[in-house]
Symmetry: C2
Subunit: 360 residues, 2 copies
Amino acid sequence: MKKLALADYTIYLGPWEQAWPEFIQGRKYSQYFVLADENTAQYCLPRLAQSGFLPEYTLIQIPAGEQHKHIGTCTQIWQQMLDAGSDRKALLINLGGGVIGDMGGFCAGTYKRGIDFVQIPTTLLSQVDASIGGKLGIDFGQVKNSIGLFGNPQAVFVDTTFLQTLPAREVRSGFAEIIKHSLIADGAQWEAIKKVQDWRNLDWNGFIGPSLRIKQRVVEADPFERGLRKALNFGHTIGHAVEGHALETDSPLLHGEAIAIGMVCEAFLSRKKTGLSSNDLAEITRFFLHIYGTVALDRANYAEYLRLMGNDKKNEGSAINFALIGPPGEVHINQTAVAEEIIESLDYYREEAEMWEKLA
Amino acid sequence: MKKLALADYTIYLGPWEQAWPEFIQGRKYSQYFVLADENTAQYCLPRLAQSGFLPEYTLIQIPAGEQHKHIGTCTQIWQQMLDAGSDRKALLINLGGGVIGDMGGFCAGTYKRGIDFVQIPTTLLSQVDASIGGKLGIDFGQVKNSIGLFGNPQAVFVDTTFLQTLPAREVRSGFAEIIKHSLIADGAQWEAIKKVQDWRNLDWNGFIGPSLRIKQRVVEADPFERGLRKALNFGHTIGHAVEGHALETDSPLLHGEAIAIGMVCEAFLSRKKTGLSSNDLAEITRFFLHIYGTVALDRANYAEYLRLMGNDKKNEGSAINFALIGPPGEVHINQTAVAEEIIESLDYYREEAEMWEKLA
């Protein structure tokens, strides 16, 4: 079992039943709560329960899906903890993907002004993205993660055997954050990643560790997202808008799928603004289209994308802020683009995707 | 103008229009929001606005009263900030009593994972109690302050001229926390306070400074309420229960009025458990009955008081936790009492109050 020691807590990389006894030794909680959705309650919780290591617990089960990541679900979680007579020495175990981790962490961080919680991320996305950074929260007023706080868990348990419970598309979604980490901070890893032909047969353990170390470096330098940490937004300004809009349609996109589109668009902006070479742009574009396929963007939605970007919490005032890249591995924060440039970048993706489809 | 420099921020004691220019110099916010209720919007906001120092602002007005300190009001506050396109560099100015400060601070602390806020407490209670400690939050599931977080403002402006806008009963309520601070940490101040005959003619400036310094000492030693800070709970375990119950009746009590009852009861427990002398108990009891008058406690409500104490967030597991006092100025945290003893202490208050009324 590998361990990644952060300033405040440890990420355990390996089988949960090896990590948990080490974590829990010497700790004393008054009660244990497991927060799960109907999927993780069915597919992941039995493994914890059958290990014989999980203490007696109260299950708080919520419906699966981003559409339930709202304040109404929080009130249900708080109420169940209150009804169980939970005091400030209880532990909340968040078992699930990003929604469970973000919302469960927010509920723990605000229940009686903060109780301990641990994360057991069960998706690749949450394993590489939510394990570090302390971003907790919920969606509000149609803006993703617009209510929340910064707070760290007591531990994170990254166990890739949980990935076997996932649809392949979910795993591919998480891969996008691993790719992003390489593009903003590790050119050598990008060289390795760009050779990947078949993402279905990858050994994820080999990718998660390096990816987490990149994120650790960035976050520890800027825990409250005042500067450097904005580097992690590469692909996210446009990606979030595309994701937010798709959520309202019959063809919602997974986070990584939207961010993949966002990274192609923002790589286009990076060629114009921050020195990404045409050759690198072409490689990045082809790679994402190969791994993620194409999504037909409709120009009729551009205005809505722009509106959603205007409400993005990463922006200051009216300027649209971007983290862009230079040569892969090099990032430039606090870049800006105007609406015309953003539209041009969306057109770039749209046309490249159309061409890709024709050649396929 | 006096200033009290805490680790993270400054409390300005004096006229707001002198303090604000010093605070705001060199700071740059993208937008200003003032959170007020209908009372402070009418009686306090004009003074800020007419000073000529307040920057252009958006008013967020909420209904006055503890009964509005809930998550529904938070969603209205968040929504108005979102509708105004507020980014993470906005400043929220909380103008009002404890409800405004606690809830506004919570909303600021969770809006886009935290924006800056300042407190302009307009009641004596919030000036001495909420200026230090970073406790932010709302009531939930009939439990006071059960959802919240710890977070500090950028500054607090304590201006006693706002007290002139208050009913006398509100001012007297705040006095209870000043008395509490002396009883737990400053025997000499208690000696001075206990001579007070007419609280209506006190110079509050002379009491607020010392009271804040006591609270500063306690809070800085224990910012997250893991130990010493429980000292501030003296009078609050029973007081909160009495307050919570009264809130549901036709005769709600102000916080300080309930805490005054709580301090008499817990002084009774202190005599039994932590060495408070009979003479001191008698002095404390007489003083509170003189200042606050009497409230007729009904034995029929005791069970409900006990239930409310069982849900009090300061308790761990099923034991009922108290902060009690020795000789005035000396505090003992982590004391416990069983239901019979608590009932005995409630009877003590009830009988002393009855006797006081007969003698009056």
